[in-house]
């Protein structure tokens, strides 16, 4: 497939995630939109890794060009898993204190 199709798909997913962060008020939905943006970037990294692999295979039959991109996707997933555990703990604490997950309740620092 042409690489542009993958870029357009990833851009559309990323912008849907941005629209979710900007328009929703539920903290959990905002967090899920951030996950959607991370996944769009992961898809683009894998597509680019296969693009570079296709270019290198045309020159040399046996190579492992493009491995770095897929390793990077793996580390993005690792960091996302750690981020989700801490972020959900923060949301649970926020719900315990404010009895709501609406982000507009967070606009005051006092009380």
């Amino acid at each position: 497939m042409p690489i542009q199709y993958y870029i357009y798909l990833s851009l559309a997913l990323f912008c849907i995630g941005i629209a979710g962060v900007l328009t929703r008020r539920n903290a959990i939905i905002i967090f899920m939109s951030v996950e959607l943006m991370l996944n769009a970037v992961n898809l683009l990294l894998v597509a680019f890794s296969k693009m570079h692999h296709a270019v290198a295979t045309a020159v040399d039959k046996v190579n492992n060009v493009g491995t770095d991109g897929q390793i990077f996707v793996f580390f993005v997933m690792v960091v996302a898993a750690a981020e989700v555990s801490v972020g959900l703990a923060i949301i649970v604490m926020m719900y315990r204190n404010a009895h709501s997950v609406d982000v507009n309740f967070l606009n005051r620092l006092k009380n």
Binding site: I3, Y5, L9, L13, G20, I28, L43, M51, N64, A82
Partner: protein, 167 residues
């Protein structure tokens, strides 16, 4: 149009529709389920690109672990009802318009980029996504970041316990 192209368009449509439904559904539980559908579609894309290790890890970690964590938190807080207070309609419109503007600018930029013309992603062949190659790279070149990520997980676990503790 061969079978790979048909699968590409089906999976792309599934990913985009599910991603839109994540935003449009009022019930947070439905949003989580639509997000799981997005992750399945993206895993299908990984399999089409012959990135088998990433596809399986995406299914296990995202659709299996992270989304179940989201579901637990939503059901723990009893949020599975349709009571999100309505935001100002102009604020929603402004958010949607700014995201659409960003999408338009980036698409027009990609359309004219000379480096990307006539480049293709290798579909359904090429062995770099297989677990033998990725495992060798992970435990030779990237062994230090791999070990550091375990420390990251330990600190995230301790942080989550400390934040979630009642005091």
């Amino acid at each position: 149009m061969n079978v790979i192209q048909v699968l590409f368009w089906i999976l792309s449509a599934m990913a985009l529709v599910s991603a839109l439904m994540v935003l449009l559904s009022k019930n947070p539980v439905h949003s989580v389920l639509w997000l799981v559908a997005v992750f399945f579609a993206i895993s299908g894309h990984y399999i089409l690109l012959n990135a088998q290790f990433i596809a399986i890890v995406n299914l296990i970690v995202y659709a299996g672990a992270i989304m179940v964590l989201f579901l637990f938190v939503i059901m723990l807080m009893n949020l599975n009802k349709d009571t999100e207070p309505q935001k100002n309609i102009w604020m929603k419109l402004a958010g949607a318009i700014s995201a659409g503007c960003l999408l338009m600018i980036l698409v027009s930029l990609i359309k004219q980029a000379p480096e990307l013309q006539a480049k293709t992603a290798m579909m359904n062949e090429g062995g770099i996504g297989l677990i033998a190659n990725l495992g060798k790279a992970l435990f030779n070149t990237y062994v230090v970041p791999f070990e550091i990520s375990s420390i990251l997980f330990l600190s995230a676990m301790v942080g989550a316990v400390v934040i979630g503790k009642k005091d």
